[in-house]
Symmetry: C2
Subunit: 194 residues, 2 copies
Amino acid sequence: MLASPFDQLPGAAVSRRTCVAGERIFSQASRCRALYYLVSGEVHLLRFGSDGTQVMIHRAFSGGFFAEASLFSPTYHCDAVAQMDCQLVRLDKTHILAEMKNNSTFSAALSAHFAHQVQSYRRLLELRAIKSANERVLAAIDAGLMGGNIKAFASEIGLTHEATYRALAKATSQGKLIKTGRGQYQRIVGQLPA
Amino acid sequence: MLASPFDQLPGAAVSRRTCVAGERIFSQASRCRALYYLVSGEVHLLRFGSDGTQVMIHRAFSGGFFAEASLFSPTYHCDAVAQMDCQLVRLDKTHILAEMKNNSTFSAALSAHFAHQVQSYRRLLELRAIKSANERVLAAIDAGLMGGNIKAFASEIGLTHEATYRALAKATSQGKLIKTGRGQYQRIVGQLPA
DNA sequence: GCCTAAATATGATTTCAATCATAAATAGTA
DNA sequence: TACTATTTATGATTGAAATCATATTTAGGC
């Protein structure tokens, strides 16, 4: 089941595919022909700087989209790498652009979708501006960014995994988190700001 | 003259206003009724964290928009502060939402506008992930982010102004920049990556 | 079940931007 | 013009995260 507004698209625009862990779904600078909906699995969007350092630009989970912003771009501007076996829905770019012309409800919903993305990037920017690793990690957990993997979480919030592990350990010793298992932490809600 | 796609709006949606340097155009959490086009001047969008630190979320210059992403939000999620005397165009939110329903060309263009914003935030995120202050400053100049004021530039790229001045001085001494005046620097294009 | 690889975790050291301090140049203003 | 505030600029010190190193635990493949 596709999420709004893409559920309004004609059948010809939609096709299913699977990919295995580690697979590159598309690469930076390659021609952009589609965007994707993730049915299950996890996909990371990565950009490689001129010095070889990689930046995680987006983490897509089940029920999320990726590469939407490339709709208006002739080429992809990042790499998409499956972090595990994934089921995904391919949404053809030309069909989407056509639907936008014909269906104002669809384009209005698409605008809203992008506007929310803009806001989430602003929140991420705000989060990454927190200098203290300890505070940043807690704020990120409160923002619901810690899904599953600590290393990916660390990368998303702009810290090394070492600094993240240390912050998690410290917050746990301070009673701000409880450790429910290896790599599993839960926020003590009583500590949330009023 | 309004930039696309907002030039398609009916006259009733559009009104002009001016504001003076330092004026707060809107505040975080206040009701969102309009978005703005900047005819002349400069406006900063700032968010204040729970610890009091402020983050620059966006810098709008002549010919740019701000608060577009709040179109689908009942309240503003940041403060807008005029950095100098400004002329701006107020675009009524309800009119825009109505136009989106009726005019698919308008909504398609609006989607494209937001998609480009998403991409520019991704570029900013990538830029801010560059750890070395020296490299970050040069990358930011190459990305065309240095407009006018060094302190605002420093804030936009997530560095202190001291670190930014030092990086500018160092790059100048290394011949990567030329200093054309107090606070005025120009990139030596021969040094750009191939 | 064994072997390898990756994630989790923590210790030691270094590095570099933040911070604190200060000064000169400029802009604004009374 | 004199006075104040701000920006530009640089020096000294500090602190905290990056880096390097090394176990341990877990997951996955054969």
